[in-house]
Symmetry: C2
Subunit: 742 residues, 2 copies
């Protein structure tokens, strides 16, 4: 195998896609694509396979049109709200929007049905695959349901020894890849957060899910979950249902995320949905805040919460951090830490939990200049992107050069593009399969109103495409919110090299004349005049100059008054300014570490036959960077001499800082290899003489002979990334006798 050009950590046999290669003799494989058994290429999106027939083509075109209409109507609704249109007018527009959404999702469903013939069998293999991964993870203590001996708490998990090591490797690499590389300012803020901070950020008012209660037992459920479960089950089991009814239920499923409390409640009533455990009637849906609440100090008067994200700790420190950075932009701050969400009913195992580790970056930048000095270093990357337009027109995610996406304006700006590129490099270095990683742009109606652009790094796993990293341009929203609430200006200054002349509007009400005309109302009129914007003021000036008076609506008085020429002086004055004061924009890449790790577990897992062919063995193909243990050491047979050599090697590995495990049990060498493969240990050192030993690579099973003194050095070189296994294969003699033990 030496002649093969081998890129570690893939084995030379796995050039084809690992999950689907028959050579690897896989037991578990799944794909939501209907073509899994015939191609080794995996569709980039489960929703949008590559080949279509004519009927499908027609449906797809209809869907694209409908989506454009939805987008158009959505924009119209937002514009009406901004312009302050009347409520009945808005309501009508919203109704139209919902109707369009229903039509859209109806077409979507037809489309799905059109190629879901083998959908359920694929779901079965998906579940079997997941079960195999999860069984291995639990058995080898990658994670443990927390407080298991007390029957646990839903949504809380411990990382056991190998999981904890993977996590700390991922975080160490995150620090190296982001914090060190960009000279970011890392901070570490408490989890306990006073209410005022989360009031300002909007979490106290808006961080909610809709909940219903069992009216007798008080048990709580997520309203949308119940409705979803009801619709799904009905569709699956009630085959006598009318086509209209089925369409309706499908429509409900499609628009589930957008339903208001009122609509959710009326649907639950209409369908007669009851509490799943007791069949008791349910309360109306009402918002439940997802933050864990507590009390700071002994008085019980100072409310606090466990932070739902780490970002706020950075925002409130902006002023100090800006100063620390020499009052210069751009700069980034970063934080790794626990965050908490008191989910109503956690599902999806490790993906939706009540406490999790976030790693967040807040990159502060001048809103007028979002270029990035190191952008060129990632500009040539090419990977799966799923821009808004492609989603709207029913196409699939496609491979786009990053530079093209940025220059064509698909990605809003260079800095956002830079971080998308860096996130891609980060995830793929960890071992995330680049064919099952895509960057999906938020649709206009998915984004917060203040966001300039937002992309999610989504990783495909057995639960579907999972949002693992969000990369958002949040504009000036957060800093402004804290400025308003705290009264402390969180702003940046740009000093001009020489003062600049600017025109400033000056409105000078003549109080004497106003007082004579408006008496007690004078103050309100003065304030209204002073509050005018430039356009309004200049129009008033023109009218006063031509007509001598002007009608003026004073909203605090609720009436129109007449302003005469002598009552106010409006002018533009030239001023010299020495600096520009502005609120920076923030670009926020936010990493759900637990989700990334779970997807990594799935992407790294495969099975292969034991040598005898009588057993399927589990392997995690973690790159050395991620592997919880870098190396196992075992004597070939139980023998004092070999054991002493093993201890010596263990000592040299410790000195070199290599995490390793020593296995002195008399178990067969094959069983010991299997144990270590199942933990994803990349290298196994077998002591079969006192002078030299073999090192075996996990995926290729290639072995080399290395002298006892050199072992730690070789392992360190390969795990630190100084050498690849290929380099090492060339450097040392291979150990050809595939021992009887495998």
């Amino acid at each position: 195998m030496r002649f093969l050009s081998l890129v570690f950590p893939s084995s030379p046999k796995s050039h084809s896609h690992h999950l689907f290669s028959p050579l690897l003799n896989l037991r578990y494989s799944y794909s939501s694509s209907p073509v899994e058994s015939t191609v080794t290429h995996v569709s980039s999106s489960s929703r949008y396979p590559l080949h279509m027939d004519a009927a499908e083509e027609a449906l797809r075109r209809a869907l694209a049109d409908k989506q454009t209409a939805v987008e158009f109507q959505g924009t119209a609704v937002r514009d009406m709200k901004t312009a302050g249109a009347a409520k009945p007018e808005i309501d009508a527009a919203v109704e139209a929007l919902n109707a369009l959404k229903l039509e859209k999702s109806s077409i979507e469903k037809q489309l799905q049905d059109a190629f879901s013939s083998n959908g359920s069998s694929s779901a079965v293999s998906r579940d079997a695959f997941r079960q195999a991964v999860v069984n291995t993870l639990e058995r080898r203590l990658f994670y443990i349901p927390s407080f298991k001996i007390y029957r646990g708490v839903t949504g809380l998990y411990d990382y056991g020894p190998p999981g904890c090591a993977v996590k700390s490797n991922v975080l160490a690499f995150w620090r190296q890849h982001f914090v060190l590389e960009e000279n970011m300012l890392e901070v570490d803020c408490p989890c306990v957060t006073p209410e005022v901070v989360l009031k300002a950020s909007g979490h106290v008012d808006k961080f909610t899910d809709l909940m219903v209660k069992d009216e007798k037992t008080g048990n709580c459920y997520r309203a949308d979950h119940l409705l979803k479960d009801f619709c799904k089950e009905k569709l699956e089991k009630d085959l006598s249902m009318s086509a209209e009814k089925a369409a309706e239920l499908k429509h409900v499923l499609a628009v589930l995320d957008d339903l208001s409390a009122e609509v959710l409640g009326s649907k639950i009533k209409e369908y007669g949905i009851t509490a799943p455990d007791t069949k008791n009637p349910l309360s109306d849906p009402y918002p439940f805040n997802l933050m864990f609440q507590t009390s700071i100090g002994p008085s019980g008067l100072s409310r606090g919460y466990m932070r739902p994200e780490t970002a706020q700790g950075i925002f409130v420190n902006f002023k100090d951090l800006y100063y620390y950075n020499g009052n210069k932009l751009p700069f980034a701050a970063a934080q790794i830490g626990q965050a908490f969400r008191n989910e109503i009913s956690p599902r999806q195992g490790l993906l939706r939990v009540r406490e999790f580790t976030l790693a967040e970056i807040e990159h502060f930048v001048d809103p007028d200049d979002k270029s990035h000095p190191k952008y060129s270093e990632v500009a040539n990357l090419e990977f799966l992107m799923f821009p808004r337009e492609e989603q709207m027109s029913g196409q699939s995610a496609k491979r786009i050069p990053l530079d093209e996406a940025v220059s064509r304006g698909i990605v809003n700006n260079e800095t956002l593009g830079y971080f998308i590129g860096r996130v891609y490099l980060f995830l793929t270095s960890l071992g995330i399969d680049k064919e099952r990683l895509r960057f999906r742009q938020h649709l206009a109606n998915e984004m917060a109103h203040y966001a300039a652009d937002c992309w999610d790094a989504e990783i495909e796993c057995s639960y579907g495409w999972i949002e693992c990293v969000g990369i958002a341009d949040r504009s000036a929203y957060d800093l402004r919110a804290h400025t308003d609430k705290s009264g402390v200006p969180l702003v940046a200054h740009e000093k001009f090299s020489e003062p600049r002349e600017v025109e400033k509007l000056v409105i000078a009400p003549v109080k004497k004349d106003l007082g004579l005309a408006f008496k007690g109302n004078q103050k309100m009129v003065v304030e209204a005049l002073e509050a005018m914007g430039e356009k309004e003021a200049m129009e008033m000036k023109a009218t006063l100059e031509s007509n001598g008076e002007v009608e003026f609506h004073v909203c605090t008085l609720g009436k129109v008054v007449t302003i005469e020429k002598n009552m106010v002086m409006i002018s533009k004055e030239k001023k010299k300014e020495h600096q520009r004061v502005f609120t920076p924009s923030v670009i926020e890449p936010s990493f759900g570490i637990g989700r990334i790790i779970y997807c990594l577990f799935e992407h790294s897992f495969y099975t292969r036959s034991s040598k005898a062919g009588d057993e399927q063995l589990n392997v995690f193909r973690f790159p050395p960077l991620v592997a919880p243990i870098k190396c196992t050491v075992f004597p070939l047979v139980q023998n004092h001499q070999y054991e002493e050599v093993a201890k010596l090697i263990s000592k040299s590995l410790t000195a070199a800082g290599i995490s390793h495990k020593i296995d002195m049990t008399g178990t067969s060498i094959g069983k010991r290899y299997a144990r270590t493969d199942e933990l994803g240990v990349p290298f196994a050192v077998t002591v079969d003489s006192t002078s030299s030993v073999t090192i075996r690579e996990r995926d290729s099973k290639d072995q080399i002979r290395v002298s006892v003194e050199e072992v730690a050095l070789v392992v360190k070189d390969v795990t630190d990334g100084q050498s690849t296994w290929t380099d090492v294969l060339w450097r040392y003699p291979t150990h050809s006798s595939v021992s009887a033990d495998e």
Copy 2:
């Protein structure tokens, strides 16, 4: 300076104790020892200086006697409680104990007064020193009061960029020094903890402080703090006080920690202590639980707490971890994570906070064999220890070889000794001054009743001697508590190589005969018979054999019955046992990371004159291991060529994984050195040519010339600990021209 044997990181000038060397031109120095200005050696304990006069000697002897009496009486009280003595008897003994304590503390006070002549001036310099450190720490953002723009929350702090880097360096070293070195099983459990777990551990019932409330405003205070402040102020300000009154107040201060809620309350009433802010009357003291309480899930019915320590997460996982370790003892599990204590009124800045990082180790060991395989590696260490006996007899901490302490039984066992040694190595490697580090043994009455032995690593800082690491042999307490509460046996098994014969007691009540004799009471009699211990049963057997019957007290019936020979068969049977089942002991080193870091800040801080002598400059002498930034790079003058070289060096440092900072400002090189010294950056690279540059070491200010290509390599070597600065000094030419800039 090349000829000096230089041990990095101390400067060659600082052979004498750093805080007191006049050569270093220190502005801030303090010591609680009265002899600070004349000796360079620092007393190992502020309480027990080395030289005494005759009066002091007499007092000290009296104190020693009294302490022995206190200890004796304390043991007596405990024994009486264990034996279930009558209440009046116990009360009398407790009263006697308190009287002895008062007498003891009276002598202690006299002793303190005897040499407190310059006590207050030393307190002033201590405060000034602390203020200087804290000012620097806050100004350079080592830490920031959390949520500062909202006027903060007492007891919550953020680590700013350099503080966060120090923290992550300390934790990375902790992982290397403990987890990797011992192959510990690191786990990562949630902070949110259900009530049942903390009920079992005792925290729900016992983790409290006594609190009083302002009866009008509801403001809360720690009862002992108020009493302490009152006594201290009174003693300082009321000079007309009678000797008796003064003695009484001093006694109160001495026994403050041991006062019950009732006594505290009556003292507060007696002294007329009111709320400090309002002078309103205060409530009686009552216990306030220090855990942050919350609710898990939406129902509000499932109470949870933010964990007050990380250890419980390990204990509840014992069974899985033992299995993971191949069902073998000893092994250790470890955890790093946040812990929370809702302090009533946090004081002492960074030392007593409401949220902090703990690093805890639980080493599980066979109670019958507490030897440690690597003990010999630390046995020869010698450092300041403060055994119980020395504390009782009024001596000071003294330098004891660890092996002596273990072999003489001062330290309870080898494993405990091993960890004490490892903790010593850990702390001193970080830069903790070994002259201000001592291991203090808990007095018998300080320890929990179940603890076998307990030592605190105490570090002296401006707040006094601070407990930073606790190293306790907690015996089987925690595992037993969770076994009892959960019903899941948390035990270990020792398989015998061959079955062992053991004698087992067999009690077989003859139900027919008992039924005839006792009718409805039969069940109670049977149970009482079966519950007999070995001794009681064998006595009964003997009596039955000699007398044919025996009087037997059945406590559930509340009366004595007569048991006849035919009613019960008592025998001893030989059985073969294949294994021993037992609850392991746990030895727990628990690290308060924030406290260690704060003490490290104080121990690392010094000031020195600027070259012109017109300014005092701050320096942190962090070892490279700990330093937040390893290296600064600056061009000597602002010049395109030099800036390009600086960028090149920065790139090579990033590639080598060295955290660094680039300073392109035109500020004088002296100012830039001062800035970087104040952050504790050990090396500064000055670009003054395009081929070679100077590297300057922070404390010695020695400079060497190194080629541009080699810079990253040299810095990496020294920061990784591969070379020392001395090595490097020999290897490269020194740069002798001390530039005009320093």
